[in-house]
Amino acid sequence: MKKRFILEGLDCANCAAKMEEAIGKLEGVKEVTVNFLTQKLVIVGEEEKMPAIVQAAERVIKKIEPNTTMKSA
């Protein structure tokens, strides 16, 4: 299952790389891309774990860059 999000206020390229790494380590995540330039986040993960993944991803993002908000695209 694939979900797309817009990361509003994503202003730091290094943070984007950190987010990608951290979300990739979450349980049930198969593939993740954080595109700094298009400010997009794409998560591919196991269907039944998706709600948990999205919540965890939101926490990860807030932790790395508090000014960034995750919106569904």
């Binding site: 202003d11 730091c12 390229a13 290094n14 891309t33 298009t38 400010q39 932790k63």
Partner: protein, 616 residues
């Protein structure tokens, strides 16, 4: 950004005031310095503290805070504040550059249709393209973007497909023809029956590919990700060593001098220049290529494309037009019309392109009631009874099998010859041939200039035809009469011939060579416009049918890779240079600032060049 500008302005004024105020004031000077620092760097310090509590220690904010406060603690007020000031100016430039690149990327993506004029019970409503279903009727007015793929059911117009193909010549469309989403309707009102929902439409697929191409990372990108992971901690550890060790071991070493050097280390310890500019470069290259009608499905493919050594072509539909046309009708004993009628009927059940071209040449409706006893003879042709006559149509082998003698001027003919016998009497032949594309020869010549060592053609066609085509195009090698699985074998043999670094590209039409496209290092599909199969199977999709676009794609790839390399070498070079010089105590913190933000800005502007591929 305005707020940032004000902050820098006020901070700079206070800084100046501090510099010119004389020492007789005592505390006044320090007060000016401190207030300037708070104005300029307050938010950085705040972020640094907050991030430490969140467990994010080694970020830019922390490093800048440590470097500047450290400088002030060793009484280098002016430098500490200047560093913060320049850092902020750099950040301002950087966000400007990022903003600008985001805008040009958005412009690149500006082929997304905003609305569709949906026809609903004699009323026309503007709706989101997402809401339109296949079978719905939409109206497209002049100047509007075609929102969904479909078939024209009324009206005719010229459409500009340049956003999809890079081709600037408008195409004319009329009733029964297909229009593709993303193109622009130029002059007439057309009514279109939608054939695919938005999710599946051409424009959405292209946008999806370009946007997600970044997901497949190139080696350069993987390298900088790894580099960034180790670089910062290593530099920070070195900085600590630099501050502590020399004063411990050498009595004459002054503590503040080495702390100063260590602080310069911290300033250049962010790998930002690389982390931003390399993905931007590849994105620019992929975006630029899509403007020219070449879809590259990942940065890794762009990288491979630049290293192509062997290009293997499929013949039909790739180097030739793949449209077979009847070139010559040579009847024996019957009329031309009768020969064509008999052969068109006899072959009418076959799906082979040859049968299609015969039907086209015949031009009239095929009357199925006339045909009985159709039998396909694999590798030879077909036998059928047409109007009670027994018709044999096929190659020389078929005629031989039935001991029918044929005219023997076949040697001189380029193309496929279909012999016909009626009631076991030879009735003549029809010559069907495919044409070489206009730009094939030029494309092959140009590929050689791009350092491609070998050009090879694979085909299921016979030796005579393929050999002549290969000679005309000056290909290095040709393998003929191959079945689909033979093509894979040949590609595997050729894969062994390339050098360790080199890549092999296979170019096909994506229709029946999907396995070969997948087996090659780079699978290039031609004429991808509107063909899902080709877009799925290939790594690189050429939207038009021009082989010359392969050369364009390779040039874009080389330019992109070149820029990425320049940026890597430049950024790492400057940073290492600054590190060495500051370890020797030869440079000031000002140079270190250049090594951080200056390099980032230059690298971003260099990356920008990748977007400009108009002349390639």
């Amino acid at each position: 950004m305005k707020k940032q500008l004000w902050r820098i302005g006020i901070g700079a004024a206070l800084f100046l005031a501090a510099l010119i105020s004389n020492n007789s004031f005592g505390w006044g000077k320090t007060l000016f310095y401190l207030s300037s620092y708070i104005v300029v760097g307050g938010n950085v310090v705040k972020k640094a503290v907050r991030n430490i509590f969140r467990g994010q220690v080694f970020d830019e904010n922390f490093l800048m805070t440590t470097a500047t406060i450290g400088a002030m603690l060793i009484n280098e007020y002016a430098e500490g504040i200047a560093v913060m000031l320049f850092y902020q100016v750099g950040e301002l430039f950087q966000s400007y550059a990022v903003d600008k690149s985001r805008k040009s990327i958005a412009a690149l993506m500006d082929i997304r249709p905003d609305y569709a004029n949906l026809k609903k019970d004699n009323e026309i409503v503007k709706v989101d393209p997402d809401e339109v279903k296949p079978g719905d009727i939409i109206i497209i007015k002049p100047g509007e973007r075609v929102p969904l793929d479909g078939k024209v059911i009324a009206g005719n117009s010229m459409v500009d497909t340049s956003a999809l193909t890079g081709e600037s010549m408008p195409r004319s469309v009329g009733i029964g023809q297909e229009v593709l989403s993303g193109s622009i309707n130029l002059n007439g009102v057309i009514t279109v029956e939608v054939s695919r929902e938005y999710e599946e439409s051409t424009v959405n697929k292209i946008l999806d590919l370009v946007e997600n191409a970044g997901g497949k990372k190139s080696r350069s990108e993987r390298f900088i990700t790894k580099f960034a992971r180790y670089y910062t901690p290593v530099v920070v550890v070195l900085a600590v060593c630099l501050a502590v060790l020399p004063p411990l071991f050498f009595e004459e070493a002054s503590f503040s001098k080495w702390v100063y050097a260590a602080l310069s280390f911290l300033v250049v310890s962010c790998p930002c220049a690389l982390v931003i500019s390399i993905p931007l470069t590849f994105f620019g290259g992929i975006g630029g290529a899509s403007k020219r009608g070449v879809l590259v499905k990942g940065s890794n493919h762009l990288e491979d494309l630049a290293k192509t050594e062997i290009v293997v072509f499929d013949k039909t539909g790739t180097l030739t037009k793949g449209v077979f046309n009847v070139q010559k009708i040579e009847p024996v004993g019957i009329s031309k019309e009768e020969l064509l009628e008999l052969i068109a009927h006899a072959e009418s059940y076959s799906q082979h392109p040859i049968s299609e071209s015969l039907k086209r040449a015949y031009g009239k409706e095929i009357d199925n009631s006339l045909i009985t006893d159709v039998k396909e003879i694999p590798g030879q042709g077909v036998s059928a009874t047409v109007r009670g006559k027994r018709v044999l149509a096929g190659n020389a082998k078929l005629m031989k099998e039935h001991s029918i003698s044929i005219s023997n001027d076949e040697e001189n003919l380029i193309g496929t010859v279909v012999h016909v016998a009626v009631n076991d009497q030879y009735a003549g032949y029809i010559l069907i041939a495919d044409e070489i594309k206009e730009d094939s020869a030029e494309a092959i010549k140009k590929l050689k200039r791009e350092n491609v060592k070998q050009t090879v053609m694979l085909t299921g066609d016979n030796k005579d035809i393929a050999g002549k085509v290969a000679a005309q195009l000056e290909l290095d090698d040709v393998f003929t009469e191959l079945l689909p699985h033979d093509k894979i074998e040949k590609v595997e043999e050729l894969l062994l011939q390339k050098s360790a670094q080199g890549k092999l590209a296979f170019v096909g039409d994506g229709l029946n060579d999907a396995p070969v496209l997948a087996r090659a290092d780079i699978g290039i599909a031609m004429g991808g416009l509107g063909s899902d199969a080709a877009i799925e199977a290939a790594d690189v999709v050429i939207m038009t049918d021009e082989p010359a676009k392969i050369v364009t794609a390779m040039r874009i790839a080389k330019k992109t890779l070149g820029i990425a390399k320049q940026n890597i070498v430049f950024a790492i070079g400057v940073k290492v240079g600054v590190l060495i010089l500051s370890a020797l105590g030869l440079v000031t913190m000002w140079a270190a600032i250049f090594g951080d933000v200056g390099v980032t800005i230059i690298a971003i502007f260099n990356a920008f060049r990748a977007l400009n591929v108009k002349k390639l």
